[in-house]
Assembly symmetry: C2
């Protein structure tokens, strides 16, 4: 019996997760819930998805001439697991409905950690989701930081991590106004929330993060300094990192020197919706100096949490172990390891 | 007798230094050397400056109808000190002419450290310029890093500095093409040159710098993590930094939260050419955690080296001590300390 899934919210994350669910051999996408009858509703239908809407939006869908399959409540009742990918704060409001219907729900990083019983990044703490009714996958930045921090912590032990996060000001499709020709602090009073958020996954990590917002759209960029508990050579780190799950290594030798190059790479890889699910680490950036290690990684903010949502579904709704779940997820989505 | 100055190169730095020289009670601007007969030649003349040109450009100046006062060689012969603010590499070519005429020359950060006998940031190592014939003031980023590093080193002792530099991709007046919607490494293989360049001023500092280039024009931004040799509270640092020369403290309480705000501040201060000569440190950014300290500073890349050039002139061509020179420079240019 496949796990029945409903995706509530069909924006940046929801659309990508719904597509990824359809590729899983052990899952069935019952449908998506959506409020606005726009072009994304039409492309969802053309991809074979059923549409569920809030009762109070019936008129606008009728006016748009788009046939729907029911109300959100119907979707919730029909599924085993809800992926809530609604805007920040809406998930909390929706959580009452999921509880009332006794459904398991997976929220995104925009929701507060107090809403849920566990925050999960698959390759770090998949098993923490076991038996929980409400869990969360963290934001894109926290996911990427958790993966790379876990690598260093597990392999060598971490004394301290100092990370600078250069955040894209808006997603490529955003039409709202954003900063131009400017650098904004996010926030000015340190640390940024990312370090604390990583600690919802890696409980006692000594990590200090600061973030700035800059006028780009394609990716976040992390400049990471780690003090390990022992001296490790650059070569050792590069070898170990080449084997690490969901880390893609790129090189300026292949002409990949900027975040735009990473965006272009995703298109040449034929990835759906330009998705890059991996942390993108530059080979040349890896630097070792005694116990100190440095590296730079790009984060595709729209896609990196997609495999995390898929694995979170199995963690709460199946008996599959972490490795088997991630193997299936990575195979179905074409996720790579090591040098591209 | 005033010190006679010639400014060779009237671009971003040269124009600002020439103006600053005219404000000094102990200096005389003999003239500027310039290659192209453009609007900046006309505004320089209207500001009372004499123009000297390369012999091979006589025709273009005649054609433009701009009267000049002689050739570059004439300027060099008439002065005590040359400020060479020509593009990277041109200074090296010019250095032969300065040597031949026996003139003292001050180069900018674009020239290699091997060209000169000393690299000087006034409040750090003014006296190193004494008796030298060829010196250099470092680049904007190195100047700002040297000032703040010196503060920490002198007051508390530094164990290690980890600095991330977000570089503006172009100056406001640049018309050449630059990156848009992109982040470029500068360089991808760490460290960036800035740390090594700081060590031309602060000889044994343990500083590790990395830099990215982003699509902005108004300022560089430095995110700086310092491990001190002892624990110091945030309040102690803020108090000491409030007294430090050429450090301006700004606050989000006053509505200054971005680099554009700093640009606008310079205009409201009535600064010529929007010049901000100081390191601009955000009060809220200062953070202390055991021996680790963090702060963020903006750097106006066009102006920060102007006072350094003025003090470098006195260091090579007068008997004035560092404090007296900097006091005169700071008074004449309106340079402030502490919270704005």
């Amino acid at each position: 019996m496949p796990i029945k899934i409903g995706v509530v919210g069909y924006g940046t994350i929801g659309a990508r997760v719904a597509e990824a669910v359809m590729k899983q051999p052990d899952m069935e996408l019952v449908g998506i819930a959506k409020t606005t009858p726009d072009y994304k509703a039409k492309t969802a239908i053309s991809r074979g998805m059923k549409i569920f809407i809030p009762e109070n939006s019936v008129e606008s869908w009728k006016k748009a001439g788009i046939k729907v399959d029911g109300f959100i409540e119907d979707l919730v009742r029909e599924v085993d697991v809800i992926i809530d990918a609604t805007p920040k704060g809406v998930g909390k409001a929706n959580s009452e409905m999921y509880k009332k219907e006794g459904r398991v729900a997976i929220f995104q990083g925009g929701e507060k950690k107090d809403l849920v019983e566990a925050t999960v990044v698959a390759q770090v703490n998949y098993d923490e989701a076991r038996g929980k009714r409400m869990i969360r996958v963290p934001s894109c930045n926290t996911t990427a930081l958790s993966r790379i921090s876990w690598f260093f912590e597990r392999e060598y032990g971490v004394e301290r991590i100092i990370a600078t996060i250069a955040r894209r000001a808006a997603d490529p499709a955003d039409k709202k106004e954003g900063i131009i020709d400017n650098i904004e602090f996010d926030p000015i009073k340190p640390p940024s929330h990312h370090g604390e958020d990583v600690r919802t996954v890696l409980k006692n990590l000594n990590i200090f993060t600061t973030a700035i917002k800059i006028p780009t759209t394609h990716a976040h960029l992390h400049l990471i300094n780690v003090k390990l508990r022992k001296k490790v050579s650059r070569e050792e780190i590069l070898d170990a990192l080449s084997e690490e799950r969901r880390i893609m290594l790129v090189s300026s030798e292949d002409g990949i020197t900027t975040t735009s190059d990473v965006f272009e790479l995703s298109r040449h890889l034929g990835r759906p919706m330009n998705n890059i699910y991996e942390n993108v680490v530059w080979v040349e950036s890896i630097h070792s100096e005694g116990e100190w290690v440095y590296l730079a990684q790009a984060v595709h903010q729209e896609a990196i949490v997609v495999p995390e949502n898929i694995d979170a579904i199995r963690a709460v709704a199946s008996s599959l172990d972490a490795e088997s779940s991630m193997n299936t997820t990575d195979r179905t989505l074409g996720i790579v390891r090591g040098r591209i």
